[in-house]
């Protein structure tokens, strides 16, 4: 079996791009080899790959040296065509007239040429494939260099191509007079080695690179870094503060990882943990260590790209500690300077920041949020209206502090620290801290009732504002994270069981903006997001569409409970029978409507009463009619606000009289008035059922 090995060597690939890049490289090469018929089809190809900052390597097994020969059929002129056409065809196909074959097609008999196409050699195909690989590579951002016409993520220097242990010669033309001749020369860590080694295959390459101080496999580097970081933490009697994003990034920045532990000066340990961690992570890519209580310890871990060496390590650490001191001095300056002023004073400066063009300043947003938070607080059990109002008023002040200017990701958190420095009441401090939560499907909700109120106020104000000036998410574009804002509201309503008249709150928010009302689109947008969320929770799409009333946001908690109850009900035998009965009834009504006997169009899923007249009790002939009628009358006309599960259950009980009705009653009675009365009874039943859901949308 031949192994094809390809390595691309370029200048440092941004860490964030490496994982996708190597996945793409492996997929591209294996699929193109397969499309070209260069993969042995008798067994699945084995694909191996490795990526480091400067190296991307993929090997594919089972590569064959030459495509199979194949016969290609070419259709020529019709039988009986002029000789000239036949001669022309033979010439273009490169065969003699005697070699033509005749074949019947559904358009008549034609001449055909059977041309033997020699399988092309991998030596000519692979260079073409590599050209396409480079030319078509989907880097998020790429560049030209020198005079090149092709672009790559950073300048591309070498391409190693090894087939079956030997160099496969070729040239990549970069355009502009630049080109790269294929080689089979590997390079180890550039700080230590500059003579190339001969590559013969993937395993040999990875091992040799390891010998030459490059861990070329991403996973291997990750394991190495994690293992050593944990070891150092243990030696110090501390824990590593987990940070997978940072770990992934650091893995993309080093070839020869060396985890070193430095000290943080005690002077800086008065800074909040969040500040220490963020400052170390964002600027320096250091890991933090914590004690058994989760408090940050005065150490940091850095991952250098140099081999361990006591003398050099000390030098590297000294340099890094110095840089961190400068960074943390800045942070300490902000911390002290920011705390010298009350958040109330910062609030006055919010007039300098535009919330969004057409939506005024952040100061105005805060004014609106106060009013909204107080209103929302009334609907949340055990929520202090005063605390919600005041927390909202202070919630955005930290945006103009030095620390948040430097580290925007600390918004909210810094506000809460600065609030507690001035004896702001604890519920307000916590609400300020939490009000940006939840930031998506997995993020935590605000811890307290007041936090929920302020968070909702913020998100509702944002939604009403952007919809009000017609800035809405389209397709995959949602630059202001409006979907996430809506999801946040829905999660809080659902997970905290908050019974909130959202329509009234949105109206209030609209008035605060001086809009006449909130956009209808917004209500629809919210119920659409609700549907997405319910489907993500595993409720099937038809049940969701049947039970959710579009744009009805008066009480979403009820809608949510209702969907869940109906979903359960439709899984019970009673529910299934009810659905059968409803379908039979609505089919009859639909057929009737089609005949034109009635005005109502019952072929539509929305049910309307077949006749405004209710069934006439005196015209009932059979007990099943009376029983169904009475059972239907017992059902409520709306779902109500309490005991929703019970209400839905009571609807499913209707299955019995319906089933009995269809077993014993024939709708098509000879007497038109009895027939009509029975249709009216079915119409009443369908209307009642429609109170809970539009069963016409159920697919099962």
């Amino acid at each position: 079996m031949s192994e094809l090995f390809i390595e691309v060597i370029c200048e440092e690939i941004p860490a964030r791009m490496q994982k996708n890049a190597i996945r793409h490289m492996a997929e591209f090469l294996s699929s193109r080899l397969s499309e070209h018929g260069l993969l042995d089809t008798r067994s699945a190809a084995e694909i191996k790959s490795a990526i480091g900052p400067k190296h991307m390597a993929v090997s594919v097994s089972g590569v064959i040296k030459q495509q199979d020969d194949r016969v290609v059929e070419k259709r020529g002129p019709k039988i009986g065509a002029p000789q000239q056409a036949i001669d022309g065809f033979c010439k273009s196909a490169g065969i003699l007239e005697s070699q033509l074959v005749t074949r019947q097609t559904n358009k008549g008999a034609f001449y055909f040429a059977e041309i033997l196409e020699k399988g092309r050699h991998s030596e000519t195909l692979i260079p073409e494939l590599i050209y396409n690989f480079v030319a078509e590579f989907p880097w998020p951002k790429s560049q030209r260099w020198g005079t090149s016409r092709l672009s790559w993520v950073r300048p591309l220097h070498y391409i190693n191509v090894v087939l079956d242990g030997a160099l496969l010669p070729g040239i990549l033309d970069l355009g502009g007079g630049m080109s790269i001749e294929f080689t089979n020369a590997g390079y180890g860590h550039s700080a230590y080695h500059n003579t190339p080694f001969e590559i013969t295959g993937f395993e040999q390459y990875v091992n040799k690179m390891r010998e030459l101080d490059v861990l070329v496999d991403l996973q291997e580097r990750q394991n190495f870094i994690l293992k050593n970081a944990l070891k150092i933490a243990e030696q110090k009697g501390l824990q590593l503060r987990q940070d997978d994003t940072l770990l992934a990034e650091v893995c993309g920045l080093v070839e020869s990882p060396n985890v070193l532990c430095g000290r943080i000066d005690d002077t800086f340990m008065i800074l909040p943990d969040e500040v220490l961690v963020t400052s170390m992570r964002v600027h320096q890519k250091y890991f933090a260590l914590e004690d058994e209580n989760g408090k940050i310890a005065p150490y940091f871990l850095l991952v250098a790209d140099r081999k361990p060496d006591t003398q050099h390590d000390a030098l590297i650490l000294k340099g890094n500690e110095r840089v961190l001191r400068a960074r943390l001095s800045d942070a300490l300056f902000f911390w002290n300077a920011d705390k010298a002023t009350h958040l109330r004073e910062y609030r006055k400066k919010l007039g300098d920041i535009t919330f969004y063009k057409g939506l005024g300043q952040v100061s105005q947003k805060v004014d609106r949020m106060e009013a909204l938070a107080a209103l929302i607080a009334r609907y949340i059990p055990e929520c202090s209206e005063v605390d919600a109002f005041q927390a909202a008023g202070l919630s955005k002040s930290d945006l103009v502090t030095g620390m948040v200017g430097e580290f925007p990701e600390l918004q909210g958190v810094m506000g809460s620290y600065y609030a507690s420095a001035y004896d702001v009441a604890t519920p307000q401090v916590v609400a300020i801290r939490d009000h940006y939560c939840p930031q998506g499907a997995d993020d935590k909700l605000p811890e307290t009732a007041e936090g929920i109120a302020v968070s909702m106020a913020d998100k509702i104000d944002t939604l009403v504002g952007f919809f009000g000036i017609n800035v809405k998410p389209t397709g995959s574009k949602d630059p202001f994270a409006l979907r996430r804002a809506a999801l946040g509201i829905l999660r809080m309503i659902d997970e905290r069981s908050i019974s909130l008249p959202l329509d009234e709150v949105l109206s209030k928010a609209a008035h605060l903006y001086d809009f006449d009302s909130f956009e209808d689109d917004l209500a629809l947008f919210i119920t659409e997001r609700l549907k997405v969320r319910l489907r993500d929770q595993g409720i099937s799409h038809d049940v969701v569409s049947a039970a959710i009333i579009d744009a009805d946001i008066h009480n979403l908690q009820i809608q949510i409970e209702k969907v869940k109850a109906i979903d359960k009900m439709l899984d019970t035998p009673a529910g299934i029978k009810l659905l059968e009965g409803w379908r039979r009834a609505s089919n009859i009504l639909a057929a009737e409507a089609k005949k034109g006997n009635n005005n109502a169009d019952l072929t539509q899923t929305s049910i309307e009463v077949i006749d405004t007249a209710s069934p006439d009790v005196s015209l009932f002939q059979l007990p099943a009619e009376t029983q169904l009628y009475e059972a239907a009358l017992l059902l409520p006309d709306d779902v109500g606000e309490n005991e929703i599960y019970g209400t839905i259950q009571s609807f499913s009980a209707l299955y019995e009289p319906i089933t009995k009705f269809f077993e014993t009653v024939i709708v098509n009675d000879d007497k038109p008035e009895i027939r009509k009365n029975r249709l009216n009874l079915l119409s009443l039943v369908c209307t009642k059922i429609h109170t809970i859901a539009d069963l016409g949308k159920i697919e099962k």
Partner: protein, 296 residues
């Protein structure tokens, strides 16, 4: 090896001269970065296929002033700038060689190339590259220019920018910029530290930048520079070099107005857009003019 501040830029000059660079002197105007020097901005675009230059450029960032009290921040500092067109195949190697030339042993230190794409909205320019870290300290910006003044760079120039004070602080192992040894001469023999030369200037300029600069005058200067630039681009034949001086002037005046806190967030964008228009106009005129003189 202890190396004084002036030896750092002297050694860099010598090193890059050996690599075939024209050694220029700073441009005689206030600019925010070495990139603004016409030797970088305009020469990135034309007329020469080959262009290699290196120079020190004093850079002014009015908003970074700290009245001489912050050990790391200055409103006036030095950049060392190298521009090489077309970018050579061994760009990184040449750069690492320059670190060796100023006493940084790259085998002992942890040198890293960390993604940092460069963009200058005022110049309508962008490129890809890295910030270069030495033991966790950012010591240079390394960029392959792709566009300048909204025009594609062809061939692609390599731009290297060294923050000289930072680099010197790293090499001398000190934490306060004002304590940098400037000349290697002992104080008893009249040797100077960075602070001896610049501390008073930092105090005075911070006061002017933040408190005293007359905003009405700055604003009218900005408008004048803008009008003059447009005028010089509209004459026949256009004069892109003097026009570009006016563009640099406008850019610095904008920075001063910004430091005085009289430009709101929304206005900011529009000012940046106005300077970009000037830069684009100058670059276009420069390309047109130099193409003409090349062909004649």
């Amino acid at each position: 090896m202890q190396i004084d501040f002036q030896s750092i830029f002297l050694n860099l000059q010598t090193y890059w001269a050996k690599q075939g660079c024209v050694i220029l002197q700073p441009y005689d105007m206030e600019v925010g970065a070495g990139t603004f020097h016409p030797a970088t901005t305009l020469r990135s675009l034309g007329p020469d296929f080959h262009w290699k230059a290196a120079y020190v450029q004093p850079s002014r960032r009015p908003t970074d002033g700290r009245y001489g009290e912050n050990p790391n921040r200055l409103q006036h500092y030095y950049q060392f700038q190298t521009i090489i067109k077309p970018s050579p195949a061994n760009s990184q190697e040449l750069y690492l060689g320059s670190l060796q030339a100023i006493g940084l042993d790259i085998h002992k230190h942890d040198i890293r190339f960390v993604e940092d794409d460069w963009e200058s909205p005022t110049l309508g320019a962008w490129g890809l590259g890295w910030e270069v870290w030495c033991d966790g300290m950012e010591v240079s910006q390394f960029t392959y220019f792709q566009q300048v003044g909204g025009i594609e760079c062809d061939p692609v120039p390599l731009e290297l920018t060294y923050g000289l004070e930072r680099l010197a602080m790293f090499i001398q192992g000190i934490e306060n910029v004002y304590e940098l040894d400037w000349d290697g001469v002992p104080a008893s023999e009249g040797g100077k530290l960075y602070g001896d030369i610049f501390n008073l200037a930092e105090k005075e300029f911070s006061r002017w930048n933040f408190e005293l600069a007359d905003t009405a005058i700055l604003l009218s200067h900005f408008n004048d520079a803008e009008a003059e630039c447009a005028h010089l681009l509209s004459v026949e034949p256009a004069l892109p070099l003097p026009a570009y001086d006016q563009c640099m002037k406008a850019s610095h005046l904008f920075n001063l107005l910004d430091a005085r806190g009289v430009i709101s967030v929304t206005e900011r964008q529009s000012y940046i857009g106005r300077v970009r228009q000037l830069a684009k106009g100058c670059c276009e005129a420069w390309v047109a003019k130099t193409a003409e003189s090349n062909s004649s």
